[in-house]
C-alpha cells in the first residue's frame, strides 16, 4: 500500500496501483531472466543435444574456464581497448571538445557540425556497418578515390586495420550523444565564473583545467558511466562490420559470448561470460559514481 504524506498521491492510490501492474510484471520478467542467467552460468546447459534437456550443475567450472582458457581474457583485452579508445577517448573526449569549441561559435558552423554528427548517431547500426564496409573495404571509397589515385597499393583496411576501423566507426556513430550531453552541461556553467577566471589571468587551457573540467566533473563521470556500459556490451556494429574478425582481432566480449552461446552452443559458458561482463562494468560503475559526487559541497 502507498504510505505517503502527499495527499494528492494518497487519494490516487487505486488508479496508480492499476497503472503499476505492467511495470511490476516487467520487473518480475527481468528478475526471472537475471536469475535464470545466473543459474545457467553454474550449469553446462547446451543449445542442442542431451545437455539441452538435462544439464548438469557444474558449480564454478564455467568461471574457472573463463580465466584458464585464452578466449575470454583475450576478448576482455579487445573490449577494453575498444571501449577506451572509441568511447572514453573518442566519443567522450571529442564530444566534450566539440561542445566547448562550438559553444560560442557562429550559428551556421554549429548547425553543420551538429547535423554531421547527428547523422552518424541516427543511422541504424547495421546500416552504419554497411557504410563503413563500403568505405574501408579493398574496393571501398578510401582505396578507389584516395589511395589508388595517389599511386598507393590497394589496402583492405578491414583486414589490416580492423580494430582501428571499428573504433573510428564507433566514434563516428556515438559522438553525438556525448556532444549533446556536454552542450547541455556547459549551459549550466555560469559565464561569470569563466570570466572571473579570465580576469584572474587564466589562459584558455588553464580555464579548462582549473575551472571548466572540475565544474563538469559530475556530468563527465555520468557520461563516462553511460558510454562505458553501452560500449562494453556493444555488439551490432562490430558484428555486422567484421563479425569479430579477422581471426579474433575484433572479437569483443559480446561477440565472444554470442559465439560461445549460439555458435558453439554452450549456453552455460555463455551465461558465465555475461555475468563476468556485468561484474566488470559494475566495478567501473562504482568508480564513476564516486567521481560524480558533487565537489562543491
Amino acid at each position: 500500500m502507498i504510505t505517503t504524506s502527499h495527499v494528492w498521491l494518497r487519494r490516487s492510490a487505486t488508479p496508480m496501483a492499476i497503472a503499476a501492474i505492467p511495470a511490476i510484471l516487467f520487473i518480475l520478467l527481468f528478475v526471472f531472466y537475471a536469475g535464470w542467467t545466473i543459474w545457467t552460468s553454474f550449469t553446462d546447459l547446451a543449445l542442442l543435444g542431451r545437455k539441452s534437456v538435462n544439464p548438469n550443475f557444474v558449480w564454478f567450472d564455467n568461471y574457472i574456464r573463463l580465466v584458464t582458457r585464452d578466449g575470454f581474457l583475450a576478448s576482455v583485452w579487445t573490449t577494453t581497448v575498444f571501449t577506451f579508445f572509441s568511447a572514453i577517448v573518442g566519443q567522450c573526449g571529442i564530444g566534450l571538445l566539440l561542445a566547448i569549441l562550438l559553444k560560442n561559435s557562429r550559428f551556421k558552423l554549429k548547425s553543420v557540425v551538429e547535423f554531421a554528427i547527428l547523422f552518424g548517431w541516427l543511422a541504424p547500426d547495421v546500416v552504419a556497418a554497411f557504410m563503413w564496409n563500403a568505405f574501408a573495404s579493398s574496393d571501398g571509397m578510401i582505396n578507389v578515390m584516395i589511395l589508388q589515385p595517389l599511386g598507393f597499393e590497394k589496402v583492405n583496411l578491414l583486414n589490416e586495420y580492423a580494430i582501428e576501423v571499428v573504433i573510428i566507426a564507433n566514434i563516428w556513430k556515438g559522438t553525438a550523444w556525448s556532444y549533446l550531453l556536454f552542450s547541455a552541461a556547459l549551459d549550466t556553467v555560469s559565464k561569470e565564473v569563466i570570466e572571473a577566471a579570465y580576469m584572474d589571468g587564466a589562459n584558455a587551457l588553464q580555464r579548462l583545467r582549473h575551472v571548466l573540467l572540475p565544474l563538469l566533473r559530475a556530468q563527465i563521470a555520468t557520461n563516462l558511466l553511460f558510454v562505458t556500459i553501452w560500449t562494453y556490451a556493444f555488439f551490432s556494429l562490430i558484428y555486422a562490420l567484421t563479425g569479430g574478425g579477422p581471426g579474433r582481432e575484433t572479437e569483443v566480449l559480446s561477440i565472444y559470448m554470442y559465439k560461445q552461446a549460439f555458435d558453439v552452443g554452450k549456453l552455460g559458458y555463455g551465461s558465465a561470460v555475461a555475468i563476468a561482463m556485468m561484474l566488470i562494468v559494475g566495478v567501473l560503475s562504482v568508480f564513476y559514481v564516486r567521481q560524480s559526487k558533487d565537489q562543491t559541497k
Binding site: S190, E192, V193, E195, A196, A197, Y198, M199, D200, G201, A202, Q206, H210, V211, P214, L215, R217, Q295, T296, K297
Partner: protein, 356 residues
C-alpha cells in the same frame, strides 16, 4: 590625478551602436558610480574597462598608458561580479589565491597573501569552506578578497548588491563603503539603483543611451541636475516634470492645459523654459488656489509612517507630492499645489539647465 581616462570611447555590436562617443575621467582613490536604467550601456562600459569587451573605437588610458588591447591583469584591474562568480569547487583559500597560483607564486607566498587579505575581510575562520557553505555577505567578502589579493590599481563592481534581499543589501552597502574608506582603492561601481549611487559615490556618472548625461558629486546631481533625464533619475520618488509653454503675466501652461503661476521668476527665464521640474518634497498641498495655483485630483495616498506620498492627477499628468505632516485630504478630492519657485528647476529646449 586621473587614473583612468576614456576618450571618445565607442562600442558596436555588429551593426548596433551601444556607446557612440563617451568621455570619462576617474580620479585616483575615488568611488565612482556608473548609474542608469537598464540598457543604458553602463555594464558594457564597465566590461570595456575590465577588458571583457573589445573597444571598437577611441582610447582607454590607465595611468596615462593606452590600455585598449591589454589583458585585464596588465591593466591592473580586477572585478567583483554580480553573482560574485566564486569558483564553487574551490575552498575560500583557493578562490582568493587562484590568481596568484596562475602567476606561479610559491605555496608559502600564496598562503601569506591570502591570510593577509582574509584578516582584513574577517574571513580567516572560513578559509577551508566551499562557497556553498557561506552566507551572502561572506561570499561578497570572498569575491572582494579575490579582487584585491593581487593589489589592483582599480577594482570594478558590476551590480554586486542586486541579487540580495533588502536588509542584506543595506548591510553590504555599508560594508562596501567601509571597505573603500579603509583601503582607498580606486573603485568603479555599476548600479541601476540611484539610492545606492547617491549613498556610496564620491562622483556619479549618469548614463542614458550610451551617453554620460552628467558626471558630478551626488550633491550637485541632486541640487542642480543638468537635464530633465538626470533630474528624474536621481531622487525618489521622481521629480515632477512639466512640459510647459509660456503665457503672459508670469503664467505657464502645462501640456495638460493646467496653469502654473510663477510671479517671482524672471520673464526671460519663463519664456525660455520648456520643462519645469519640482521635487515631491517641495510641493505643498493647499485647499485654496494661492501661490502656483496648480490644481490636481488626489489619486492615491501611501502612508509610510513618518511621511506620506500623495499621488495626484492633473488631467493625464501624474504628480507626486511628499509630506512629513499628516495629510487631511480624501481620495478623489481636488486640491491645490503650491511650491517655492526657488526650489523649481528650469530646462530649455535643448534639455539644458537654465540658470535663474
Amino acid at each position: 590625478m586621473a587614473i583612468l581616462e576614456a576618450k571618445h570611447l565607442r562600442k558596436d555590436y555588429q551593426a548596433v551602436n551601444v556607446i557612440a562617443d563617451l568621455n570619462l575621467e576617474v580620479r585616483e582613490g575615488d568611488f565612482t558610480v556608473l548609474v542608469g536604467p537598464s540598457g543604458c550601456g553602463k555594464s558594457t562600459l564597465l566590461r570595456m574597462i575590465a577588458g571583457l569587451e573589445d573597444i571598437t573605437g577611441g582610447e582607454l588610458l590607465i595611468d596615462g598608458r593606452r590600455a585598449n588591447d591589454l589583458h585585464p591583469r596588465e591593466r591592473g584591474i580586477s572585478m567583483v561580479f554580480q553573482s560574485y562568480a566564486l569558483y564553487p569547487h574551490m575552498s575560500v583559500h583557493d578562490n582568493i589565491g587562484f590568481g596568484l597560483k596562475l602567476e606561479g607564486k610559491s605555496k608559502q607566498d600564496i598562503t601569506k597573501a591570502v591570510r593577509e587579505v582574509a584578516d582584513t575581510l574577517q574571513l580567516t575562520d572560513y578559509l577551508d569552506r566551499k562557497p556553498s557553505q557561506l552566507s551572502g555577505g561572506q561570499r561578497q567578502r570572498v569575491a572582494i578578497g579575490r579582487a584585491i589579493v593581487r593589489k589592483p590599481r582599480i577594482i570594478l563592481f558590476d551590480e554586486p548588491l542586486s541579487n540580495l534581499d533588502a536588509k542584506l543589501r543595506v548591510e553590504m552597502r555599508m560594508e562596501l563603503m567601509k571597505f573603500h574608506r579603509n583601503h582607498n582603492i580606486t573603485t568603479i561601481y555599476v548600479t541601476h539603483d540611484q539610492v545606492e549611487a547617491i549613498t556610496m559615490a564620491d562622483r556619479i556618472a549618469v548614463l542614458e543611451k550610451g551617453n554620460i548625461r552628467q558626471f558630478d558629486t551626488p550633491r550637485v546631481l541632486f541640487d542642480t541636475p543638468a537635464n530633465p533625464f538626470v533630474a528624474s533619475f536621481i531622487g525618489s520618488p521622481q521629480m515632477n516634470l512639466f512640459d510647459v509653454t509660456a503665457q503672459n503675466n508670469y503664467v505657464v501652461k502645462t501640456a495638460e492645459n493646467s496653469e502654473i503661476r510663477l510671479p517671482d521668476v524672471s520673464l526671460a527665464l519663463l519664456s525660455d523654459a520648456k520643462v519645469i521640474g519640482i521635487r515631491p518634497e517641495h510641493l505643498k498641498l493647499q485647499s485654496e488656489a494661492t501661490g502656483a495655483g496648480l490644481s490636481a485630483k488626489v489619486d492615491l495616498i501611501e502612508n509610510l509612517g513618518d511621511e506620506s506620498i500623495i499621488h495626484l492627477l492633473a488631467g493625464e499628468q501624474r504628480i507626486t507630492a511628499r509630506s512629513h505632516e499628516p495629510v487631511d485630504c480624501q481620495i478623489g478630492e481636488t486640491v491645490f499645489l503650491g511650491f517655492d519657485s526657488t526650489r523649481a528647476h528650469f530646462f530649455g529646449d535643448q534639455q539644458n539647465r537654465l540658470s535663474r
